[in-house]
Amino acid sequence: MSSLAEPVKRGLKKSLQLLLLLTKIIVPVSCLVAILDHYGIIGSVAGFFSPAMALFGLPGEATIALLLSFFVNFYAALGVITTMSLNSQQITILAVMIGICHELPIETVVCSYTGLRIPVSATLRLLTALAAGLILNLIYNLVQGG
């Protein structure tokens, strides 16, 4: 059993660190979103992007989550998701897009060590995320429509 203590301790330490990081990002982001929303700014951004987001079956507000995911990280996007009311289909589609394309400023640099150039990996992930959102929305609509 003593051999298990080490990985358990490491896992515990890592999860606490991650939760702290999560709190430090999600709380300010969701407060910012709540304030912007209060003054109608989210509404106008959402209105502008809602035709584009409709392609993925998402409301215009999802734009904010996607942009935060692409340029900041995964957790910032979650901060927005907590403030939105989405159905399970919408959450899944948004989650797939976020899962594929997030934290580009850092991860594309990490990935460049494999020889994958930064603009190539950023474009690849962006296009893959958009394609995944489109395809999933089509599949969901087909399954539910038929």
């Binding site: 051999s3 298990l4 080490e6 990985p7 358990v8 490491r10 896992g11 515990l12 890592k14 999860s15 606490l16 991650l18 939760l19 999560l22 709190t23 999600i26 709380v27 969701s30 407060c31 709540a34 304030i35 209060h38 995964f74 979650l78 901060g79 998701i81 907590t82 403030t83 989405l86 399970s88 959450i91 899944t92 948004l94 989650a95 797939v96 976020i98 899962g99 594929i100 991860e107 594309t108 990490v110 990935c111 460049s112 060590y113 494999t114 020889g115 994958l116 990996s121 690849l124 992930r125 893959t128 394609a131 995944a132 999933l136």
Partner: protein
């Protein structure tokens, strides 16, 4: 005053969802560490022969690829650099691993966190994995095609 109430509500809601994440995240990260402790990756490398063959990657690619898929892009890339330095993998193989991992990495942790927020974990996993496999396969064909033309 209105703003203060709004902010208090937002903070309370956010902390509540972080609490929900904590309940899942702590056991998952502990399990990941235990898996790493028992060298889970080294043990399952033999089981992905078919996938590696399909992606036209050598057997040596198994450890960095699986480490990245399960434990994250940073560990995956660190192993890739290590392998590259020791000359186990060709430039082409490194690039293909990079492409695969950029789309699909740290799938356990990511999927769990997103599932806590209500996403369907199976759809999430399947979409990311299938797209990573297809795109890497296409990239392999393209790279090989142009390499042969150049030579």
């Amino acid at each position: 005053m209105e703003i203060v109430i709004l902010l208090a509500e937002t903070i309370a809601n956010t902390l509540l969802s972080i609490g929900r994440i904590a309940l899942l995240l702590i056991p998952v990260l502990i399990l990941i560490e235990i898996a790493r402790h028992y060298q889970f990756i080294e043990k399952i490398t033999g089981k992905v022969k078919g996938l590696l063959q399909f992606l036209s990657l050598p057997q040596e690619a198994a450890v960095p690829l699986l480490a990245g898929i399960f434990f994250g892009i940073v560990l995956g890339s660190a192993l890739i650099i290590e392998y590259a330095r020791e000359g186990y993998l060709k430039k082409r193989d490194l690039l293909l691993i990079g492409i695969f991992l950029s789309i699909s990495h740290s799938i356990v942790e990511d999927t769990f966190i997103l599932a806590v927020f209500g996403a369907n974990p199976f759809v999430l996993l399947a979409t990311r994995t299938i797209l990573a496999v297809i795109i890497t396969r296409i990239a392999a064909s393209l790279i090989d095609h142009f390499a042969i033309e150049k030579a």
